[in-house]
């Protein structure tokens, strides 16, 4: 059983397919920053972690899920810091002998991730009046 956990600064770069010998199913989930948050146009999300607890909890979860579902491998990467709209902030790869346990593991992992792993996101809105805004250029500096 192979378990791999990564916290990555900024958007996750594209990753080649992840196949494990003897696995019949390779399932990948990618979470992409969507262009709106509660109806308001977004430019990015800022992800905050609490090192080293975040990575530790992520690893604990990964190992528990891999074991409970009898996976052959689980690999997870999550961004911290700023991730622009349209970019990948979360990737979960699950390798399993058959499809059923792989899909169940994926669902369970994401549900527990959202409850147990100390990760926060703050929206970065396009408009200056919004509750959170990106660090801006000095006034009048650009076009």
């Amino acid at each position: 059983m192979q378990v791999d956990v990564e916290l990555h600064p900024g958007p996750l770069p594209p990753a080649p397919p992840w196949h494990i010998d003897t696995a019949g199913a390779a399932i990948r989930f990618e979470g992409v920053v969507r262009p709106t948050e509660q109806g308001q146009p977004l430019v990015a999300l800022d992800y905050q972690q609490y090192p080293p607890m975040t990575e530790r909890e992520l690893r604990r979860l990964a190992e528990q899920i891999a074991q409970q579902h009898g996976l052959l491998g689980l690999r997870v990467a999550h961004s911290h810091g700023r991730v622009p709209v349209g970019k990948v902030s979360f990737r979960l790869d699950v390798a399993s002998k058959h499809r059923a346990e792989g899909l169940a593991a994926m669902d369970a992992f994401i549900n527990r991730l959202k409850r147990e792993v100390p990760l926060w996101k703050l929206p970065v809105y396009a408009t200056a009046s919004a509750p959170t805004s990106a660090p801006t250029h000095p006034e009048g500096a650009t076009p």
Partner: protein, 82 residues
Amino acid sequence: MQVTVKLFGPQAQLAGCETLTLTLDAPQPTCGDLRIALADAAPPLAPSLPASRFAVNHEYVPDDQRISTDDELALIGMISGG
């Protein structure tokens, strides 16, 4: 006892700061005492406190966990990974 609690994400925004320093009156204060004191010290946090957890030295703990002066305390709430 004076304690400092780390805040993150939306809760840090609501409180307007990334750490809160509080005085706990109980002789041997617990995280339950801290939860009550936080609601008083930072009312904007109150609605999110019931669904929040505490971490002591980077481990989740129950509310009956005793707090020592040199513990690192963190409020873990309103999380949203993935």
